[in-house]
């Protein structure tokens, strides 16, 4: 059994504002404020969403004194920081290959957000970024299960981050089953007893290419 012992969500409201949800109910406005963005001055919005959601899940767990090299991180994204990638392409088209921004390039790399999380939260355990268009979080759950079983870490921050933008909306305009959204959701997973437990993942089932469910048992 794997306990879900912390949840953090950053989501986009219809008016474009981002809100932070710690746990399952507490909603906080003005998520991108000066205090919360410390250490993220050069980060793009994709990485800001990722860091704030991951930190929120960790805070929500009420755990203290965890050894930071015993926390693993698995970050899933279908499309990665594509808005930043297109801004980097703007640089190439506007100024040429020799005049592009190193910061835009750095932020456009798929695992930049995982790096911002590990650096800002000082997480020194195994860190993995993966991509899959439809089943990333479920595929990642198996990796989390394996890592905990192999004792690679005691806790895993498992999250999914994606971002909507006008280019992606155009790209997905012919595939209605893929809906772009802007949000980050993280769960803190552990096999240990924890102060707070939302549910336990009792089984993860795959049937061919169809991954059925994360079965939760409310404690």
């Amino acid at each position: 059994m794997i306990n879900v012992c912390g949840i953090g969500i950053v989501k986009n409201r219809d008016n474009g504002e981002f809100v932070l949800v710690k746990g399952v109910s507490h909603e906080k406005d003005d998520v991108f404020n000066k205090g919360s963005l410390k250490g993220l001055r050069r980060a793009d919005n994709f990485s800001k969403i990722a860091v704030l959601a991951a930190k929120s899940a960790l805070d929500d767990s009420l755990l203290s004194g965890i050894e930071k090299d015993r926390i693993g991180l698995i970050l899933v994204s279908a499309f990665g920081p594509h808005i930043t990638t297109f801004r980097f392409l703007d640089d190439i088209l506007n100024y040429g290959d020799n005049q592009v921004s190193p910061i835009l390039f750095s932020n456009s790399v798929h695992n930049a957000s995982a790096s911002y999380i590990s650096t800002n939260l000082n997480l020194q355990g195994p860190t993995l970024s993966i991509t899959h268009f439809t089943q990333g979080l479920l595929q990642a759950s198996y990796i989390a299960q394996s890592w905990l079983g192999e004792n690679r870490c005691d806790y895993i921050l498992l999250g999914h981050v994606d971002q909507s933008g006008k280019e992606l909306e155009y790209i997905l305009s012919r595939t209605p089953e893929l809906k772009p959204f802007s949000a980050g959701i993280f769960m803190l997973l552990s096999k240990n007893d924890t102060p707070k437990t939302y549910c336990a993942i009792s089984d993860i089932i795959s049937a061919g290419n169809i991954y059925i469910t994360l079965q939760g048992l409310i404690k």
Partner: protein, 387 residues
């Protein structure tokens, strides 16, 4: 834990189109680099392009084509032509193939507000692990693409090892691939880490990396599964370590904190000591920071006499392919009993204090290590052995 065998190896890079050609290239010190021909750029730096003709109508990414090429070699070597009834996992690493970065598409979209969907379709069909499953008409139990930047290939192998150790799979296709692209070419130049001459890993006067492309794919399976198929494996994956620096987005930790930890985990995982390691195929990009931090860790953990080589002088830095290719080069070296010269190296850097091998060098011993450091502070280490 079951013993995890490597039963198939497949590789393509600028140094050769298969494992045999690459070994011959290592022996003859082949460094096939030149200006980029796959894209236009106003930058003038050498790159290492793979010399394979890709019969494509533009419907597939070059990264996918490179992977298919390498995987065919690995499948042939593993004699694994029928995947039915096998719990299969596919885990492949990449960087370029994970991004919506088609300049022609974006230029047209920017001008008109709409654009041809050919590049979009290529991207949406190009999630590397899924594209490989589709091409070979196989239905894996697990199928995921790792995007851990320059350690992606090594980490994909590590994920495969975890699946096998956890009895989730019987066989795993793992490794990494990347094509040369104008985007990282411009981006790495902006970061100030590209050399205008051929790279010289660990050399005192090194000036930076050269980009390359390729694919390195392994077939991994439990020894018992291989035995049932009548295969007697020679090579094994014994351990994997992964640790974050938690230090900086683009620079490695100066003392290699995360790398040291990753190596320790991998050795512990394999139940061996540093003195059991006969050689190390290092990440060795030839940037000032990478080589210094990696060299300091090697000296501390393995001592001044450690035998190590960087093969990036033959392949360039192949980004998401590097970890897969270099795991294969490590396995081939164990199998052949020699490691290639760390080509490009001339003089020891006093700030590092140890030198890679500067000629083809015989090795003895059962275990070897392959290290990968990545953008974002990721550090990976794989222990590979020969029976």
């Amino acid at each position: 834990m079951p013993r995890i065998a490597i039963t198939g190896l497949g590789a393509v890079s600028a140094c050769g189109n298969n494992c045999a050609q690459i070994l011959e290239g290592f022996s003859s010190l082949r460094r096939k680099a030149g200006p980029p021909s796959l894209f236009e750029s106003d930058l003038d730096f050498p790159v290492f392009e793979a010399d394979i003709s890709i019969s494509t109508d533009g419907s597939r990414m070059r990264t996918v084509e490179l992977t298919i090429h390498a995987l065919k070699e690995a499948i042939d070597q593993a004699c694994l032509f029928d995947f039915s009834g096998i719990r299969l996992g596919i885990c492949l690493g990449t960087t370029v193939a994970s991004q919506l970065n088609d300049i022609a598409f974006y230029k047209e979209y920017r001008q008109k507000g709409s654009a041809s969907f050919q590049a979009v379709d290529r991207f949406l069909k190009g999630n590397l692990a899924c594209a490989i499953a589709d091409h070979f008409s196989i239905n894996p139990k697990f199928c995921i693409t790792v995007v851990n930047a320059c350690s992606s290939g090594a980490d994909a192998i590590g994920v495969g090892l975890s699946w096998l150790n956890s009895d989730l799979c019987d066989v795993v296709i793992a490794g990494g691939a990347d094509e040369l692209s104008r985007i990282p070419f411009a981006g790495f130049n902006a970061l100030g880490v590209v050399s205008d001459s051929l790279c010289a890993p660990f050399d005192r006067d090194r000036k930076g990396l050269n980009l390359g492309e390729g694919a390195g794919v392994l077939i991994m399976e439990k020894e018992a599964t291989a035995s049932k198929r009548g295969i007697k494996p020679e090579l094994f994956i014994n351990g994997y370590g992964l640790a974050a620096d938690a230090y900086h987005l683009t620079s490695p930790h100066p003392q290699g904190k995360g790398l040291k930890k990753a190596i320790g985990i991998a050795l512990n995982n394999a139940k061996i000591k540093p003195e059991d390691v006969s050689f190390i195929n290092v990440h060795g990009t030839a940037t000032r920071e990478n080589d210094k931090s990696e060299g300091l860790v090697l000296k501390e953990v393995f001592g001044r006499e450690v035998k190590f080589t960087s093969t990036k002088g033959f392949t360039g830095h192949t980004l998401g392919a590097a970890g897969g290719l270099e795991a294969i080069f490590t396995a081939l070296s164990l199998s052949c009993g020699w490691i290639p010269s760390s080509v490009g190296f001339m003089n020891m850097d006093p700030d590092i204090g140890i030198s890679p091998v500067s000629k083809k060098t015989q090795i003895e011993g059962r275990y070897a290590l392959s290290t990968s450091l990545a953008f974002g502070g990721n550090n990976s280490a794989l222990v590979i052995s020969k029976d």
